[in-house]
Symmetry: C2
Subunit: 413 residues, 2 copies
């Protein structure tokens, strides 16, 4: 009997009715003869409400206590979904992350899964039960509750699917698949039938928001087919798989954008070699995610350095850098907030050198200033003013004709 | 250094402000040089809201899933209280029931504590931390989350105090002590400075509602001094201790009352000896609490039996009895709902034979019909119509002059 892992996000379990609907999607797979493990997030706005409660007490909550607080959210959902399945006559068992054997690093608020001890889940599946697991959470070696950070439930689902050698992992969400860009903002954005792990990874990293990058990475490393599909409508979603299996081979697969970016500039870095390493080591130790990095030499023996972070990490970043000012050896730091990132992604890019040029050209034609640039083999990212973000994404989406099925990109001369 | 266990109930942690206030009561004890373990309930109406959510899905939720759901309530409170303590500059660690080593029977919704593994708590106390433990919950030997049932947080507090050899266990609540009767309903009800374990046990069992009987029993068995005091005002509460230590020695210490009582009558019980045992065995197996039991022989080889239960257990009681009708050997069952229990409690009663008579007489004078009676060495309970409950409690309270400090009970001639 084949095993399917299904994951329902917060909006898909946001009310009693939605939980009952999710139960019906689980039962659909059971009726097809599959064994099912279901991973759920906290209901709708539960996490936000818990964060608001904590904010009423302190602006700087201890991360361990935050994990303790937030992990109640998914625990509520597993019990309610399990009740819904049983009230339909199906046998189920709810499990917290630690009961499901999800072991993580000893890091709070963004732990990584280190191992999944599947014995208990396998026993329950063998008894014919639907296993309902709390996403986003686990336990470290000291029996401390941990959470996996943003998008953690996707990671839980993919990690479980891989550990249990599932046939497929279905991510149910409030959108019906992966689009060439966000259809709420971009005219002509179109649902993709398929996308490669690498492309999805870039899109996920670029803030497309449908799937967490760690989840995609995990699926890629284990060649696990992943689908993103609607929890509301019963229609085909988008299949994420090896590139070789894809039908279309587009130069540019999609346009992603993400706001609330801050550029930090570090002036007068004394030692350009060790200084650079020291700065990013200390940021990494404090679990601050740095995105684009640009280095420029201005004078003899003094280097300036710019990098982008998310606005929510600005305080922490400033604190960490200023606390280590002498050790790191720089003269001052400045930051520019109110920025956004607009990126194009596509595995066809590597063999089409004019793609980046076309992007810069179309942005220039629309007088959109580019503040930072970063490229990889399958993406080009630009940092622009937050005010220009949606306009930039739209003109780039138009320029690469992503609204049509067989785009013929106009490469820059 | 001496250790104090403090327990804050749901109303005492019902909002961010109340949690901050509870933190200040903890800090008070720390400043006196004590080590402190704090036990908390779920915030205010959280448990009710969770039950309402479950009721939206099914009227017959699985008890395991209910425990999974309800145990999130206290987990929220421990994290928030821990944050509040830290924001005041104190070091603390929040612990779920299972993290605090609270091991229980494998029973859902009303498990008993079997053992407390205190190693981790002692380590944290030794590091100078305030230990904040989720009340009401534990874990069985199969790593399943369990809850202790009504008043479970009191039990957690007393059990922890006893296991950790605490100097005292302070139960903070929304009343400022134990009263001769409920001051919200009974004119002249007065706060007691002290009360014996046995008296408190009867009052708790009789629905006085201030403390859970299991908690008092536990304290008695371990000679643990217990106080009940206000979480709002900083005034003396009521000390619960060995009888020999009490200042006043009253004939009647208090009047308790409790509504929503149902009398079940089992007709035509074939075998009065084994039948009786069989009925209460099967009820006990199903964790149904039976209170007053009255047996009367009507005809040859046929016995009728009445007993009282709480109204919320009526459905389950009927189901259990009717499912076992043949095995138990009875002809039919009937029930009368809308009843209440009014009781007097006092360790002086045993040497004052006229106390019960005085109670019956005052009820008769006020034309209050008594449906069932039960007595012990330190209490007399009567079952009356729900409509008569408060009036009965008031006339009995008046009759024994409980409003004054040195009552001189008028014994019936």
């Amino acid at each position: 009997m084949s095993l399917i892992v299904q994951k329902f996000g917060g909006t898909s379990v946001g009310s009693v009715e939605k939980i009952q609907h999710a139960a019906s999607r689980v039962i659909q797979e059971i009726k097809k003869g599959h064994q099912v493990v279901v991973v759920v997030s906290a209901m709708g706005k539960t996490t936000d409400e818990l964060i608001r409660l904590a904010a009423g007490i302190t602006q700087t909550p201890n991360k361990r206590d935050m994990d303790m607080l937030l992990s109640t959210g998914e625990q509520m959902t597993i019990s309610l979904l399990s009740m819904a399945l049983q009230s339909e006559g199906y046998s189920s068992v709810s499990m917290t992350g630690w009961q499901a054997g999800i072991q993580t690093e000893a890091v709070h608020s963004k732990a990584r899964i280190t191992h999944i001890e599947t014995t208990r889940m396998k026993q329950e599946l063998a008894k014919g039960k639907i296993v309902v697991v709390a996403g986003f959470q686990g336990m470290d070696a000291n029996f401390e509750l941990t959470t996996l950070g943003r998008g953690g439930s996707d990671t839980t689902a993919v990690a479980l699917a891989s550990s249990l050698a599932a046939e497929r992992c279905d991510i149910y969400t409030d959108v019906d698949g992966v689009y060439t860009s966000d259809p709420r903002y971009i005219k002509g954005a179109r649902k993709l039938e398929g996308i490669s792990y690498d492309e999805m990874l870039e899109l996920a990293n670029l803030g497309a928001g449908v799937l967490h990058p760690r989840a995609v990475e995990y699926a890629k490393n284990h060649s696990l087919p992943l689908t993103v599909r609607s929890s509301i409508e019963d229609i085909e979603g988008t299949l994420i798989e090896e590139e070789s299996m894809l039908e279309e081979n587009l130069v540019v697969r999609g346009v992603a954008f993400e706001g609330d970016i801050v550029r930090i500039t570090v002036y007068g870095l004394e030692n350009e070699f060790t200084g650079l390493a020291a700065i990013f080591s200390v940021l990494a130790e404090n679990h601050i995610n740095v995105d684009i990095i640009i280095q420029s030499q201005t004078e003899l023996n003094s280097t300036n350095l710019s990098f982008s972070i998310k606005e929510e990490e600005l305080e922490e970043t400033r604190r960490v850098l200023l606390n280590n000012k002498d050790a790191l050896g720089f003269s001052k730091i400045e930051h520019e907030a109110g920025l956004a990132k607009v990126s194009i992604v596509g595995s066809g890019m590597v063999s089409n050198p004019g793609v980046a040029a076309q992007m810069f050209q179309v942005l220039a034609e629309h007088t959109i200033a580019v503040k930072m640039v970063s490229t990889s083999e399958i993406k080009v990212s630009t940092v622009v003013e937050m005010n220009d973000m949606l306009r930039a994404a739209q003109v780039v989406h138009d320029s690469f004709s992503l609204e049509s099925l067989q785009p013929k990109p106009q490469l820059a001369k």
